[in-house]
């Protein structure tokens, strides 16, 4: 019996100790009318057969050199990261409700919080949310609690559309209004919003959905002048190069939220990733999710424990700052090890390489006839390429060359039919850029 240790003899002895004569008898309080008759599940496989079947499924996903980004990025993950994170002691532990028996996980979370505060330039980080998009929804709810209710949120139209969808879902349940902040169609970057009445906060995406960098200082200062909070949406790897939200404008952003996936988390078709959320210390009691603090035991030894649990659902129930319970602990463990392994220097070098590659590829493609770049502004590692034919058709054709060429913006209902969002990371070698150029050239010529 897979994963069940009892043999017949042991089962009999235990049934006797309970005082029943069959396993079925243990369910004698359940009305027989409710017992299952048919349940269409396949029969079990041995581990060996399971491995063969799933290896076949894995091979049925085409291995592609990845030029797609859009919120999920292909990066190198040092071998030690998951080697350690997947150790049974981390992998199979529960939420650290008994701190004395969970100092490993707790210290890791404390270090994670420290690393996030240093990346974002803010004072407090929680111990993770589900992903960047749901994290942004939590940040909006937090801003509304801080500002008092009956308010709306200013949401840029160049926020990643999947993130906007999540805001619609979560904030829509509480009838919170989302006011669109339009972008300049020529530059692709945000215009200063006209009206801020009724709004609790302005979301500022640095990087936006076109891969462009925004004038974060100006936007932050405007928001503060209007009495709004600023919620920075950031890529943690880019923060090794870009200004920390805590330094935006005169007073700094109030919250920073983002998708943690670039920090050591494999792509895995879309998850599990993790959302990070950092804020000012003054707002810590409105922060959703778990928080770890350093403390001492009776002998004065340093230890770590969960803190301010009165914010959370298992204590506060319906009045909690969020319903979140299980978060993304193991992902954060990996991310912490990843950040510690690379260190400041490694993260900076990686960010710089991503940026360099992006400029190199753009230069290479600029030489192809018929292609253009609709937006001229600064970018980190992702930009829009405008093709003289359907971007979807080009993307599909390049699959045959072993390339995932990018994301057609029309799949997001944005941009022109020829717009393809192209991303480069440090994983790409110069030869890959040339392959991309040549393959694209041949597809365009075959048209």
């Amino acid at each position: 019996m897979p994963y069940i240790p009892h043999d017949a003899e042991e089962t009999a002895a235990m049934l006797a100790a309970v005082g029943v004569n069959s396993l079925d008898a243990l369910f004698d309080e359940i009305p027989s009318s409710l017992q299952v008759h048919d349940m269409v599940l396949p029969e079990g496989l041995s581990e060996m057969a399971l491995r063969r079947e799933l290896e076949g499924r894995a091979l049925a996903n085409a291995p592609l050199v990845c030029f797609a980004g859009g919120g999920a990025y292909a990066h190198h993950i040092p071998a030690i990261v998951w080697e350690i994170a997947a150790r049974g002691e981390f992998y199979s532990a529960y939420t650290p409700y008994q701190p004395e028996a969970s100092q490993g996980t707790l210290q890791v979370l404390y270090e994670y919080q420290s690393f996030i505060t240093r990346l974002t330039g803010l004072e407090v980080s929680n111990a993770s949310l589900y992903d960047g998009a749901s994290g942004l929804a939590e940040a909006c709810l937090m801003a509304l609690r801080i500002q008092g209710s009956e308010k709306s949120i200013l949401v840029p139209e160049n926020l990643l559309p999947s993130w906007r969808s999540v805001l619609d879902t979560v904030l829509g349940m509480q009838n919170i209004r989302l006011q669109a902040v339009p972008y300049d169609p020529n530059s692709g970057t945000l215009q200063i919003p006209g009206d801020a009445s009724d709004a609790a906060a302005l979301i500022v995406p640095q990087i936006n959905a076109f891969g462009l960098l925004e004038s974060v200082d100006k936007l932050t200062d405007w928001a503060h002048a209007q009495g709004l909070l600023t919620i920075a949406v950031v890529n943690p790897l880019a923060l090794a190069m870009l200004k920390a939200p805590g330094d935006w404008g005169g007073k700094g952003a109030d919250m920073a939220v983002g998708e943690g996936q670039p920090m050591g988390i494999p792509l895995t078709g879309g998850g599990p990733y993790f959302g990070f959320l950092a804020c000012r210390k003054t707002h810590v009691r409105q922060l959703p999710g778990r928080l770890v603090a350093k403390t001492v035991d009776a002998q004065g030894r340093t230890g770590y424990c969960l803190t301010l649990q009165a914010r959370e659902q298992h204590i506060r129930r319906g009045k909690a700052t969020s319903n979140i319970c299980t978060n993304q602990g193991l992902m954060v463990t990996a991310a912490t090890i990843h950040m510690a392994t690379l260190g400041s220097h490694g993260l900076q070098e990686t960010a710089s390489c991503c940026h360099t590659r992006s400029r190199q590829l753009r230069e290479l493609l600029a030489a192809l006839p018929g292609v253009s770049f609709p937006y001229a502004g600064a970018f980190f590692h992702e930009w829009v390429l405008r093709l003289p034919m359907s971007a979807t058709a080009v993307r599909d054709a390049l699959l045959g060359h072993g390339l995932l060429a990018g994301i057609p913006l029309r799949e997001w209902e944005m941009g022109e039919p020829g717009d393809l969002l192209v991303c480069t990371t440090e994983l790409l070698e110069e030869a890959d850029l040339l392959t991309y150029r040549d393959a694209l050239k041949s597809v365009l010529e075959a048209q």
Partner: protein, 485 residues
């Protein structure tokens, strides 16, 4: 012994020497967008990083190293094969925006998992996207809300929830815009039908229940409850946290539930990872199918698989996260289910119940008091040490901390809140009799210690890396991040 890595900064070398190839162009990013504050992360050697986190790991209790009878959390064995398979490059390197024809292998896995979970729960349709149980609850109650609104039934703004329910239930209902009404339990553990009936009405959207309940007993009148709620126009939500108790034996769909979530990180053996990631798939009866959260996987008539979009499901409550959910967790749950198969699934609840009832009997034999002595335990059960507390001053907390000294994780304590000084114990089906017997022996010793030297318990744990921590100090002098040097 292990100073935090943040305290041992070694500033001028690369831990991970990328030697990134290629020309470094001078940046063309405007100066005012570049980082101002120096990034102050440690630059330690790979060995120092490895050693630091390896030693930290050894300070954790975990299923792989300790018995972990944490009630309501279903800490069962997490098969390693599931981790190995989910880590295959064909899955791990797959970008979420890969076109469907290039990811049929993954979609096949997810499609099967949807089908199997529907079969296991007796429901019509499944969406795998919720990232955890609480997000599943949110999706579930949002579907109930959407259902009533879609029928023009706009006055249903109340959600009924038993007093003893998991904290996420009221928190999720609240987050979905409902007012929460608590329904008490009777002394025998079953729901107070009279209280229920008193609250049912045209303003009630539904009721959230788990069965077996958080009291560790099966709600015997569930069919009657379902009839009453349905008659009043409400829907029934099933909190899947306790599904391990009935897996393969009773289906929520058959009990009359309309919508539910499954905690794949409990019942389907995916790891808890020190606090996640989980996966909180939702399953619904046919009438709620139009409202399922996106994305889910659709099989086209010719067999090809693709993600469903809002065009396919225009009444969907929408998207809960940026991509498809915690795919890596779903891969693990799929592997577990495929390994068990129909007969393996049936054994889960049978042996979970055997282990729980055996343990309950053995602990009662030692003198421990069951909260519901007349009832059969489900997959877990509640003890109260009120008697010990009165006799010796020893509290449930002290018993819990003392267990740690014996290399056994503490049960859940002080939940559900209505049983004083309670311990909620869930052994799971993957523990052997030998492990249970050792737990019983330790509990015997602890009971004796409580009577003879209660201070030993009150000052426990004694043999862990740290003693009982000052949690009040932690909240008062809030130190939640190490200041950069």
């Amino acid at each position: 012994m292990n100073p935090a890595v943040t305290e041992t900064v070694n500033d001028s070398i690369f831990a991970h020497d990328h030697h990134l190839p290629g020309q470094k162009l001078p940046t063309d990013i405007p100066e005012d967008l570049l980082r101002k504050t120096p990034l102050n992360l440690p630059n330690a050697s790979e060995l120092d990083v490895l050693r630091h986190y390896t030693r930290l790991s050894q300070k954790n209790f975990s299923i792989d190293t300790q018995f972990y009878p944490l009630g309501s959390c279903t800490m069962k064995y997490n098969p390693r094969i599931a981790h190995a398979l989910a880590s295959l490059p064909g899955f791990a390197r797959l970008h979420p925006d890969t076109p469907a024809p290039a990811m049929q292998g993954l979609l096949q896995v997810l499609w099967e998992l949807q089908e199997w979970l529907a079969a296991a729960t007796g429901m019509a349709a499944v969406s795998l996207t919720p990232a955890a149980g609480a997000q599943g609850e949110l999706a579930g109650v949002a579907m109930i809300r959407a259902y009533h609104l879609a029928r023009g039934d706009t006055g249903r703004n109340k959600m009924l929830i038993p007093t003893a329910a998991h904290g996420t239930n009221p928190a999720s209902a609240q987050m979905a815009g409902f007012e929460v009404i608590e329904i008490p339990n009777l002394p025998d553990g079953d729901l107070d039908m009279a209280a229920l009936d008193a609250h049912l009405g045209p303003d009630v959207a539904g009721i959230m229940l788990t069965n077996p309940s958080t009291l560790g007993v099966f709600e015997r009148r569930i069919a009657e409850i379902a009839r009453h709620v349905h008659a009043a126009g409400g829907l029934l939500y099933y909190d899947g946290a306790n599904l391990n108790a009935i897996l393969g034996r009773v289906q929520p769909g058959q009990m009359g539930f309309d919508v539910m979530h499954l905690n794949l990180h409990k019942t389907f053996a995916t790891p808890h990872g020190g606090g996640g990631p989980g996966a909180g798939a939702v399953a619904v009866q046919e009438r709620l199918r139009p409202f399922l959260p996106l994305p889910t996987v659709l099989q086209e008539p010719h067999g090809a698989l693709r993600w469903m979009s809002i065009e396919d499901l225009p009444q969907s409550i929408g998207q809960l996260s940026a991509h498809g959910g915690n795919i890596g967790v779903l891969l693990r749950a799929h592997a577990y289910l495929r390994r068990l198969g129909r007969s393996g699934v049936g054994r889960v609840s049978a042996y979970a119940a055997l282990n729980a009832n055996y343990l309950l009997k053995e602990l009662q034999r030692l003198g421990y008091q069951a909260a519901f002595p007349e009832r059969r335990a489900s997959h877990e059960f509640i003890l109260s040490v009120s008697d010990l507390h009165k006799a010796t001053g020893v509290r449930a907390l002290d018993v819990a901390k003392r267990l740690l000294d014996f290399g056994i994780h503490a049960p859940t304590i002080y939940f559900p809140q209505l049983v004083p000084e309670c311990l909620l114990i869930e052994p799971t089906e993957t523990e052997s009799k030998a492990t249970l017997d050792r737990f019983v022996a330790v509990m015997a010793q602890i009971r004796q210690e409580a009577l003879e030297q209660p201070e030993l318990l009150r000052e426990a744990p004694h043999h862990l890396p740290v003693g009982r921590l000052d949690e009040a100090l932690a909240a008062r002098k809030l130190d939640v991040s190490a200041a950069p040097e």
